[in-house]
């Protein structure tokens, strides 16, 4: 009997182990299927876009303004518009967002006020973008009288990206172990030295990744820009920022009317002429390529900046 007991125990143990293995495998299979579904949809989408639009993408398409003739229509103005709007968005949202993140994480006293701000910022990141459009319409276009311009669009998208930047910055900074902060403080570092020499460099990879993901969301935004009155048909470029005469630099482009890629795409889709549908698909492919490029850049930065930084 004394021998048989462990024998039985062993059988029971094996049974329980193989049951657990089954659950574990089951989960792996479910996970794999979910990933496959997501991937298949994405790939199908890309193939669809490319098959429709690829034939239309050529140098002429990329360098021509919009036109009512489908043959001649191109995305040049929209491409420049997207670029300039993102430039404004980035220069506004990135410094302000990182600074706010640093303040909230390292300087603000922990307490109910900090918690309230945290909840607010996190929720702002989830507010539907059209709501930002409405806010911008009232604030930038009417109250500040900035018109239907690049600066209005840049500010609107900056508002949209700002909470994402703040949240990412805080999360990246929080991931740095407190032992490293204490090591710096113990040597006599001030708070600012500690942030500048340690927290920022160690978390920059994650922060930049978050920023780029936020920006690649912004570049595809249509609703808030339609709300503030972006044009759907425009055939001229904004003023050049570089001028031949003194003072050589001009900011009047900030007040120019504009359009962006997704709006251009939308306007082509809504035309009855079928030839424009291929143009829309082509614009979509360009937009997708831009987004992928930005994400690739984010991965590259993450890889470069994290090399040798681990804890």
């Amino acid at each position: 009997m004394a021998i048989a007991l462990p024998e039985q125990g062993l059988i029971a143990l094996r049974k329980s182990v193989s049951r657990r293995q089954l659950y574990s495998n089951l989960f792996a299979i479910v996970g794999l299927i979910s990933i496959l579904v997501a991937l298949v949809v994405l790939v199908a989408l890309i193939i669809h876009l490319l098959s429709q639009g690829l034939t239309s993408i050529d140098w002429q398409f990329l360098t021509s303004p919009a036109s009512s003739d489908a043959e001649e229509a191109g995305v040049f103005i929209a491409l420049v518009g997207s670029g300039l709007v993102m430039l404004v968005t980035t220069t506004l949202a990135v410094p302000v967002g990182i600074a706010a993140g640093i303040y909230l994480e390292e300087y603000a006293r922990k307490g109910w006020l900090a918690d309230l701000i945290e909840i607010n910022v996190t929720n702002l990141a989830g507010v539907p973008s059209i709501v930002y459009g409405l806010l911008a319409l009232g604030l930038f276009k009417y109250a500040l009288n900035l018109g239907e311009s690049i600066i209005t669009a840049g500010l609107t998208l900056a508002l949209l990206v700002l909470p994402v930047v703040i949240v990412t910055t805080r999360e990246a900074m929080r991931a740095i172990p407190s032992s490293l902060r204490e090591a710096a403080y113990a040597l006599g570092a001030s708070k600012w030295r500690m942030v500048k020499d340690h927290i920022l460099p160690y978390s920059m990879g994650s922060i930049l990744t978050g920023i780029i993901i936020g920006l690649s969301r912004a570049i595809g935004e249509t609703a808030p820009l339609v709300t503030i009155g972006a044009l759907t048909f425009i055939t001229f470029l904004p003023d050049s920022p570089i001028q031949p005469t003194f003072p050589f630099i001009s900011f009047s482009w900030l007040l120019s009317p504009f359009t962006v890629l997704p709006i251009q795409m939308f306007s082509w889709v809504s035309r009855p002429d079928l030839a424009f549908e291929a143009k829309a698909a082509a614009a979509g492919a360009v937009l997708l390529a831009l987004t992928l490029l930005m994400n690739g850049f984010a991965s590259f930065l993450r890889y470069r900046l994290r090399k040798g930084i681990k804890w």
């Binding site: 006293r109 307490g111 006599g188 340690h198 040798g308």
Partner: protein
């Protein structure tokens, strides 16, 4: 009660001049419950003082009072004084904690080098003191690594990442980093508890060599370690200082029954 009488009695056995002295020091992690209760302790200059006691008795808490580490977190509160050279009260609100940390170095329980090169780790303390002359920093880095008995192992790879070093080497790097700024007092919080026996022996050897340069206060959970390296030993229990005396005395003829029980392994 126990701590007060013993505190006074044991002071008589201290032959060395005090470098830092805690006077009626209490510490609160917020709230009204003291984690350190009315501790008076004179740490002798250029000696190794060990802080022993059961887990949770407040060794780390006491140690971190000496470089105002508790100021980093909200709601912490000190009472009493910690006098450096009998003059400056380190925990006075008039003294900037940065000034304190410029004079008092610290080595942590787990090696925590910065994710930078070996050289930059040691140089960092000098850089935040505004030193930018390459020659001065080079020289100080070499000297500190020599003192930390690490120079021979790393002299050809100063620009390698500190994380590529072994655990024991990382801890000696952290000691070098603390030494580079010539602190008057170095605090060690269980500096060898994450290390294997050989690395431990290296670090202990190193601490003994540093004795003629700097005052050291070491928290350890190992009584053997306290006996091996320290000149003086303080025994703490439940936030109070029970007994403080020469290490030989504490381990051979402790005055307090609590100390005797702890040394004898009857609790803790």
């Amino acid at each position: 009660m126990v701590s007060e009488t013993s505190g006074h009695r044991s002071q008589s056995g201290i032959a060395h001049k005090a470098k830092v002295e805690a006077v009626n020091l209490s510490f609160y992690y917020g709230g009204s419950k003291a984690a350190i209760k009315n501790v008076s302790l004179a740490i002798p200059e250029k000696q190794i003082t060990a802080l022993i006691g059961p887990s949770g008795c407040g060794k780390t808490t006491l140690l971190r009072c000496f470089n105002r580490m508790h100021d980093l977190y909200d709601n912490n509160r000190y009472e009493g004084k910690i006098l450096l050279d009998s003059t400056v009260n380190l925990i006075s609100t008039k003294i900037d904690p940065i000034e304190v940390r410029m004079r008092v170095g610290m080595v942590f329980q787990r090696p925590n080098p910065f994710p930078k090169s070996i050289y930059e780790n040691v140089a960092y303390g000098l850089r935040i003191r505004g030193e930018s002359r390459r020659r001065v920093i080079d020289q100080k880095v070499e000297q500190s690594l020599q003192q930390a008995a690490l120079w021979n192992e790393v002299k050809d790879r100063l620009n390698d990442q500190a994380y590529d070093l072994s655990g024991g080497q990382q801890q000696r790097l952290c000691i070098a980093r603390a030494l580079a700024t010539d602190p008057e007092l170095i605090l060690f919080d269980e500096p060898t508890s994450a290390l294997d026996p050989i690395a431990t022996a290296n670090v202990e050897q190193l601490m003994l060599q540093l004795k003629d340069k700097v005052t050291m206060l070491v928290v350890t959970h190992s009584m053997q370690q306290a006996a091996r390296i320290s000149d003086y030993t303080a025994f703490m229990y439940l936030g109070e200082l029970v007994e403080f005396d020469q290490t030989s005395k504490i381990f051979s003829a402790p005055a307090q029954e609590k100390t005797r029980d702890y040394i004898g392994g009857r609790f803790g």
